[in-house]
Symmetry: C2
């Protein structure tokens, strides 16, 4: 039995407020605990998006009532909320800027709209960018110009990891995360994931080439965090004519990574660094007392939708044989998950930004 | 009569080798002289593109035989010629990297392909980027990472000029040029230019909004150079089903800018700075001895295709009333143009990179 720190997922779409048929603060945090994750950072592109004090309160109200693991809530950067967002920085996980592939209120097409956010958001709280390829490079230039840290969400390309490496060597304050689906899947896997429904493989950033996947593994030292980008949609939605992009991931990240450990493609200290130590540093997260998870690293089994807590009802990794199972999760002195059962109530989870000091 | 230095155009598509039905080294350099320009820097996306020693020789052979004004020839960055291009740096105007809107051999889609060029091209010769919007930001990040100057071709957007300003304030070595068509035309002018042929308004970067145009004028101090991006295509091509992007510009840049001077939108010292002093600095160009132009700043007339030397046979500024006419051009002690007539022979022009010291 392997004991690890309670893991942190800095990139989760909880879907509440607004799309609770996909997921909510209850089911998302159950899925997190079942996946060995004791703290999630929630993305702001809900309906409505979280971009000011009143929408932030909407998310907090739902989370306070329902969350079973600890959490913080990102605030979204919009075309005209820079001062507002900055004034809420100490309540938020950080500022999320959607610079690619996003529609609606949080769209920031023009780089001139990025400037007030970089000027105003406090430097001791993170700015996280959805920014792919050249847009990512543009985001890193902003980090250089405004001399402040940025964290690049879900990198997926060889050019991205190489450029982050080069920028960091030059002293630019850039960190990054990678998702399991960009480490374990490539374009070549699309037919197998799709089961005849092309929408099931839709995700942003898209699944990349085998060369890109290999470059991520070869530059594992450049990657600061693993993050799920848990983005649940129902199977009905995924199989529709207009399939939304996104995969669930909270319950599969750790078994997939532990399987890579069993194959000597990854080491346990790397896993701890990228799922606990680094996210704590980058996102300025408190130390959770009496919090750990226990994992049977020799348990072999198949990933099955039927065993999942997420509401979305599917996983792109259905049927994958993995090695490594979460047996027990202890969160702040209480056993929150054990032998497949959630043992803490709704509302047990805490908003880590509302606390002073460590948990 | 106003006396100015011989002007320098750092961005000219001569079309030779390969497309001499549009233009060649003879007609392009006649158009330059008629426009008050005594030195042109020629772009490498000819047919074939100029990207190695033998293609560079093709351009030099044509230029040596035909050019009537002075010149240098850019070498193009391709996916695998970084070492070759760098080895030819002292013969070339600089390295041109096509990072947007280009097809064929000089396409560099993947940012990983940019890296060897930035690593290898000597820092005392310029790298010029065709890079719009976020790609421009990516290019400036490369300048920061590799700590070397880049020159951004034909900026057209508010976000571009603002970001260049911010990057420069941060100490990043970036310069830029703007074209007359982005200063004097916006999207709103497309119907008037088109004369029923939408292809006539096609240009890359595209004509922008009035707000973008205004931002360029308001940030005139950020703009280092005026450049024509003289990109001649025949009217037949422009009016075809697949119109190529590009405008001629060598013969209209100075009258348009002098008209702006007459309207107090620009000052003569700015014009000299951006068409002589700055290009000399940025591109490391020699001082031409006994070279000047004489301009009648009070001459009012209409721009007319019939009066042009370019082979392409049209101008987007047809019928524009302008104030300011080139009367005489003296190049290295010889009157090269006077009262509408070219007075130097083919071959009078010199490759300025082949000379040691000043002309």
């Amino acid at each position: 039995m392997l004991k690890l720190p309670g893991l942190i997922d800095p990139h989760v779409h909880v879907r509440e407020p607004g799309q609770t048929h996909k997921e909510d603060w209850d089911t998302a945090t159950q899925a997190a605990l079942a996946g060995g994750i004791t703290m999630i950072l929630a993305m702001p592109n809900t309906k409505p998006p979280i971009f000011d004090a009143s929408t932030l309160e909407l998310a907090f109200a739902a989370a306070k009532q329902k969350a079973r693991c600890d959490y913080a809530q990102f605030i979204g950067a919009g075309p005209d909320n820079a001062a507002m967002a900055a004034s809420l920085a100490d309540k938020a996980a950080g500022l999320k800027m959607y610079l690619d592939s996003t529609f609606g209120e949080l769209r920031l097409d023009d780089m001139a709209l990025w400037m007030p956010h970089f000027e105003k958001y406090p430097k001791d709280f993170p700015i996280v960018l959805h920014s792919e390829s050249r847009t990512m490079a543009a985001g890193i230039l902003f980090a250089a110009i405004y001399d402040r840290p940025v964290h690049i969400a879900h990198i997926s390309l060889k050019e991205e990891v190489l450029l982050i490496k080069a920028a960091r060597e030059r002293g630019i304050k850039v960190t990054c995360e990678v998702c399991p689906h960009h480490l374990f899947l490539s374009k070549e896997d699309i037919p197998a994931i799709s089961h005849g429904h092309p929408g099931r493989s839709e995700v942003r950033p898209r699944l990349a080439t085998k060369e890109d996947v290999d470059a991520l593994w070869e530059n594992m030292d450049v990657i600061d965090c693993f993050a799920t980008d848990h983005a649940p949609h129902t199977l009905e939605e995924k199989d529709s004519d207009n399939p939304p992009p996104g995969f669930p991931g909270l319950e599969t990240i750790l078994p997939l990574l532990l399987t890579a450990v069993s194959e000597s493609r990854l080491a346990i200290p790397d896993l701890i660094e990228k799922m606990y130590t680094n996210p704590r540093k980058i996102f300025n997260l408190p130390e959770p007392g009496e919090t750990w998870i226990e994992v049977d690293e020799n348990a072999e089994y198949e990933i099955k939708t039927a065993n999942q807590f997420t509401r979305c009802g599917w996983t792109p990794f259905e049927g994958w044989k993995v090695k490594g199972k979460v047996r027990k999760v202890v969160l702040r002195g209480t056993t929150a998950f054990e032998n497949g059962k959630i043992l803490v109530e709704q509302g047990y989870g805490k908003d880590i930004r509302s606390l002073k000091g460590d948990l």
